[in-house]
């Protein structure tokens, strides 16, 4: 296939050619970046929490009625938990101050010495009793769980620094990179040490924002029952397949024990709901980008079909002459495919520059991450294929122009 005649012909269709080039370039720039954003968001929202999500739900129990003393609250929390654990559909339940993906909560600086000025790292603080590991369904990979006699209580405005702490593998690695964390101390905004008695495989923190990614799995568990007058979170793990039943029974059991409470639906629910709540903006963005990408590709393809069809119609006579002079059908087909490849090639080259520029703007303006070249490569292949696919129908039509067309005057 000779390229020179194609180029000569294109010179006679400058405006149309430039428009297709421009359209392909813009489409490539947007599609590459959109695909990159989709991938990032999907990756973000599918990060595992490390807990038994399918069977978990959370109840945020707020205390209503006359204000109770700390002892009264503690007794009520224990009674609530006993009632929850006795429900047939419930495997285990534990009190806590928060849960993974909650969107915000307690986190502390952690250091290795009592007089450290610059903390070693930052970790989410989860409170709980000896049932918490089982209630969450996290796996203990080293050391042991809390014993019942180690569980303390935390009242309003009390500052308690427990002697034992369970940390995640990520936090253990950050504090003691040589892997010797078990049995070692950590200092969490206090001069009293907490000994690491256990290490769990994985437990995500409460916040899923981008700035938090570096700390996403640095959590620690303190053996404390939360006895604040405002309220407490109950982490409840249903027996496999009995989540719905457990979610129905649990509030009933709690209200039967004491009706003076409020269960806040915006901060409670099954873990599927919690996950959805935490990542809704990510999912929304991914869907939107997906829709925009597909519509853009369709529009660009339609534009190519439209212009090429027009060109084919315009050149019927010339095609007939070529056919009469011995060109085969596939020569004509090849001609239009090559023409499109040249145009798309130009568009893709300009589009690459635009895509990188757009990504740079996103990095500078909105603090997103730099795009990996794989997306550029993917986008280029996608658009070249799209161009060839779009031009196929008009090109086939052109190849079927009979040689006799050359003899017609129009």
């Amino acid at each position: 296939m000779q390229i020179k005649p194609v180029l000569t012909a294109l010179r006679r269709h400058k405006a149309g050619t430039v428009l297709i080039v421009l359209q392909i370039a813009l489409t490539l720039a947007i599609v590459c970046n959109a695909l990159f954003i989709i991938h990032q968001r999907l990756q973000h929202l599918s990060a595992p929490t490390g807990i038994d999500e399918p069977n978990l739900f959370v109840i945020y129990n707020q205390w209503a009625g006359e204000q109770k003393s700390k002892q009264e609250i503690d007794a009520q929390v224990r009674a609530d938990l006993d009632a929850l654990r006795q429900l047939p559909a419930v495997l285990d339940a534990a009190p806590s101050n928060s849960y993974p993906l909650r969107g915000g909560g307690w986190d502390n600086f952690v250091g290795l010495t009592p007089d450290q000025v610059q903390p070693t790292s930052d970790a989410a603080v989860y409170l709980g009793d000896e049932h918490l590991l089982n209630a969450l369904g996290v796996r203990l990979v080293a050391g042991r769980n809390f014993r019942p006699d180690e569980i303390g209580t935390l009242g309003l405005r009390e500052e308690v620094h427990p002697a034992q702490v369970i940390v995640t593998r990520a936090l253990a690695q950050r504090l003691y990179p040589d892997g010797s964390a078990l049995g070692k101390p950590l200092y969490s905004m206090s001069t009293t040490p907490s000994t690491i008695i256990g290490i769990v495989d994985r437990l995500q923190t409460q916040v899923v924002d981008d700035w938090q990614l570096a700390y996403a799995y640095q959590s620690m568990i303190w053996p404390l029952r939360l006895d604040w007058p405002s309220g407490v979170y109950y982490i409840v793990r249903a027996r496999p397949g009995q989540l719905d039943a457990a979610m129905r029974e649990a509030p009933k059991a709690l209200f039967a024990l004491d009706p003076q409470r409020i269960i806040d639906p915006t901060d409670s629910g099954s873990f599927a709901q919690i996950r959805q709540r935490a990542y809704e903006s990510d999912r929304g963005m991914a869907i939107l980008m997906g829709v925009i990408c597909s519509v853009l590709l369709v529009i660009t393809a339609a534009g190519i079909v439209g212009l090429t069809s027009f060109w084919v119609g315009q050149r019927r006579k010339q095609i007939g002459v070529r056919r009469a002079l011995g060109a085969r059908q596939r020569d004509i087909l090849g001609y239009f495919l090559t023409e499109n490849l040249l145009i798309s090639g130009c568009g893709v080259l300009i589009g690459l520059v635009l895509a990188v520029a757009l990504n740079l703007w996103l990095v500078l303006r909105l603090g997103s991450q730099p795009m990996s070249p794989a997306y550029l490569a993917g986008g280029v292949v996608l658009l070249l294929l799209l161009g060839q696919g779009a031009v196929l129908a008009p090109a086939m039509k052109a190849s079927r122009v009979p040689p006799v067309e050359a003899t017609r005057s129009v």
Binding site: G16, I262, E280, I299, T300, G306, L307, R365, V410
Partner: protein
């Protein structure tokens, strides 16, 4: 003449139904996406108090310790400590001013057996509601004397009045808030500035609004905790009034530029005085007005900007696409143009004819785009974001849709129309 062009345009568009549909659809999608994202952007960057926002200012200072301070590279803090807030407040350097903090309160319905529920409460001072122009349905705001006396009075929002008293005049009745009796002195009419500028740095930013407005001192007397407390060193938050913690906002009303300059001088003077006393170490102060404050607080999320940018890129591609298709269409009609030119049509006439055709495409695209925009906004209203329920097309945006549609179509039509009127009649006629 125009009628004739219209007729010609309709015929021409009708002849290539697929091509016309494609152009209109592409344009409509681009416009729909643009209008949807722009509506959201406008909603997010809107003025919560039109007419008043230019007079409301938010003083900022920085009580942080010296450690890590690099002059010129630090920004004043978002909120004030109790000590600074009350000192600035009591200096009375503005005609009207108000302290604001946000809390969550437990409200006990009157009737027996009613379940208590939680409601957002604004702890503030007497001038707040009049200063921001909140309309009263019944009663009025409390007085400055109530502030100093720590009187247990409360102003409730219309939706709370509806829920608790069925919308009746409840002034003079009592409301049980966090187990304390408060006397209702006022019921608001609809008051829901979007975004809730006074609450942005204190907790929430969009949505229905706050149910309760109570005097700061009375609220603190019953130990109502603010939602947002940020401390720069370990402090006893049981005694928030003395702790090294910031949790209050101060809004001042400054009627003109002289008053603003005056207040800024006062603020700088206050900070210098505190530095001289050894309480402060940082000189930075700021006095943004309401809209500037919203910009500082970054109320428009990055995602919304990204979406709007993307929608414009999308529209650009759609316009390019329309140019290409219109061009193809009009070049195919070279012979028709040649005949018209030979019969005496001027170049201007041909240009006009093709621009009318483009405008028709634009109009159709705009109409359909409006449908897409409504669909898009409907989709956004079903999103769980705080601002979602407010995403609606207002008359301004409605008109703007057609401006965008016509402008895009006319821009798209320029090149093809120009090419059309440049067609030389003779060769076209000869080859026929």
């Amino acid at each position: 003449m125009f009628g004739y062009y219209l007729n010609l345009a309709l015929r021409s568009l009708g002849r290539n139904r697929v091509l016309t549909t494609l152009m209109v659809l592409a344009l409509a999608l681009g416009i729909g996406a643009c209008i949807t994202t722009l509506t959201v952007l406008r909603l997010l960057s809107g003025d919560p108090l039109p007419g008043r926002s230019a007079q409301l200012y938010y003083p900022q200072i920085d009580p942080y310790p010296k450690d890590g301070y690099i002059p010129g590279q630090s920004k004043p803090q978002e909120n004030l400590t109790w000590v600074d807030a009350t000192r600035l407040f009591e200096a009375h350097h503005a005609p009207r001013q108000a302290l604001v903090a946000l809390g969550s309160t437990k409200i006990q319905p009157r009737e027996a057996g009613g379940r208590p529920f939680f409601g957002d409460a604004v702890m503030t001072t007497a001038d707040f509601l009049p200063m921001v122009g909140a309309p009263f349905r019944y009663g009025s705001a409390w007085s400055a004397a109530d502030d100093t006396a720590g009187a247990r009075v409360v102003v409730i929002a219309d939706f709370l009045n509806q829920k608790l008293f069925g919308g009746a005049n409840s002034v003079g009745r009592t409301l049980r808030v966090n187990d304390h009796e408060f006397r209702i002195v006022g019921v608001l009419g609809h008051f829901s500035p979007q975004p809730r500028f006074y609450a942005i740095n204190l907790g929430r930013s969009y949505g229905e609004g706050d149910g309760l407005f109570l005097p700061l001192r009375a609220a603190r007397d019953m130990e109502l905790m603010p939602n947002n407390i940020s401390c720069w060193e370990a402090g006893d938050i049981e005694h928030l009034e003395t702790a090294p913690c910031m949790w209050l906002g101060l809004w001042v009303e400054l009627p003109d530029a002289a008053a603003v300059a005056n207040y800024k001088r006062f603020l700088d003077g206050y900070v210098r005085e505190q530095i001289a006393q050894g309480r402060f170490h940082r000189t930075d102060t700021a006095l943004p007005d309401l809209m500037e404050w919203l910009r500082i607080e970054n109320v428009v999320p990055d995602d919304a900007q990204l979406q709007a940018g993307l929608a414009f890129g999308f529209l650009l591609i759609c316009v390019t696409n329309t140019i290409g298709l219109l061009l193809a269409k009009c070049l195919r009609r070279s012979r028709e143009i040649g005949v018209r030119r030979a019969l005496g049509a001027t170049r201007v006439a041909i240009f006009g004819q093709f621009m009318v055709e483009a405008a028709m495409v634009g109009l159709a695209g705009g109409l359909l785009g409006l449908v897409f925009a409504e669909l898009g906004l409907w989709g956004i209203r079903h999103q769980p974001a705080e601002y979602a329920s407010l995403a609606r097309l207002d008359p301004g945006m409605f008109a703007f849709t057609f401006v965008v549609a016509l402008a895009s179509a006319l821009v798209a039509g320029l090149l093809p129309a120009w090419r059309a009127c440049a067609v030389a009649p003779a060769p076209q006629l000869k080859s026929a």
